[in-house]
Symmetry: C2
Subunit: 256 residues, 2 copies
Amino acid sequence: MPTMGALHEGHISLLKRARLECDYVTVSIYVNPTQFEEQQAHESYPRDLKNDLELCNEIGVDFVFTPDNSEIYAKNDETIVTLPRLGTVLEGASRPGHFAGVAGVVLRLLNIVDADRAYFGAKDAQQIRVIKRLVKDLHISTAIIECPTVRTSDGLALSSRNVFLNPHERIQALSLSAGLFKAEQAFQIGERSARQLRRLVRSTIVDQDIISIDYVSLADSETLAELTGDVQNDALLSIAAMVGSTRLIDNVVLVV
Amino acid sequence: MPTMGALHEGHISLLKRARLECDYVTVSIYVNPTQFEEQQAHESYPRDLKNDLELCNEIGVDFVFTPDNSEIYAKNDETIVTLPRLGTVLEGASRPGHFAGVAGVVLRLLNIVDADRAYFGAKDAQQIRVIKRLVKDLHISTAIIECPTVRTSDGLALSSRNVFLNPHERIQALSLSAGLFKAEQAFQIGERSARQLRRLVRSTIVDQDIISIDYVSLADSETLAELTGDVQNDALLSIAAMVGSTRLIDNVVLVV
């Protein structure tokens, strides 16, 4: 299971499932520089290796792989992996090069670890779609297992970045999932207009002093093509926003 | 062993070596569309599956893989693999996108076949460097084995494209290898000037009605950075030229 460390209950749910389903469980902990646009964001990404190792030990992880950059990127490494469609919308539009970085490091890690199964969280919705596409396109034999988003009891999607939220920001951040849930409820009682569903999310985000929406998207769940008109197939409703100085993402899948 | 078919003595030398060194030998025969700039060049690439299968049978190949496009490229495939340095000089400069196509198909084939060893000919000098780089960068477990260029008794490097040469063009085409050998001999008796060595190759190509030189290159054998000044490390001396309407490439490595 590839991670960037700072393990939380979301990771733990994946690890427990892997522990149940697999003979051997390997966790990689590596904050990959190539998926950050800015060195600053890479450097300030939360790290807590001591706690991570304790958690892995408690869960009964067999191997922890904590490579340095030279173990992932060979001297004179120059191979770049891109997905020009899935990798350039949503998060890829806001963070150019991000998914080339993600695809590149995950491909390298999958080849190094050579696992039968790899576990990823649904919270990073576009990431898992990019990885599934990559694995299918390149005929990689590792099965990609998607695990549900883990939330706090009041709805906040768990993220390593949540540690950056101050108490007031944390309360405001709840409006992201609240907006998604409100639209999901409307969908469940029959609302199909993509425009209206997106509007329901936006209308729930009220405190614009603290929250700055990057995007609210309702897209085909597989191709991530933005929907106009009515929802007719499974659709990914997702949001990205700055809450104070912390960028958060969240999503729900609307299943027809 | 990945091939585009139209097997000749060059391929056979690789196959015989693989047959000696491996328990099981798999040959793929697939004329990959993504490495041709023009559909016409892809369509007119020589094909002779019946003869290829007979040759494979004679040599004792265990498996022949003759995929159609959908077996290599999944529906909605969009994963692109590029090597911005090694893939853009020499052949990559003359044939934009060629090595993205090569890297993409070889990566897919290596993953599908999952061989311990894969054999490539030294005639396609840049191709094997790109593939070695790709395999190293992505931590692919297949060993890449380089086999020497096979030549006719008068020096012509074997190529599937040689069938396109008429008798007069074939004679003129000998000046490519003749130029490389002349420079190699000069190198062996002490000539180190990159400029002078390239000039020796060019000076041997006389019939400019039939032969149009695309490039004569003397480059670092590993990085393919073009050399100025004197040769100090192993260097790749290579040529690409149109002979009539057939594009040929050839090379020698100058070992210091």
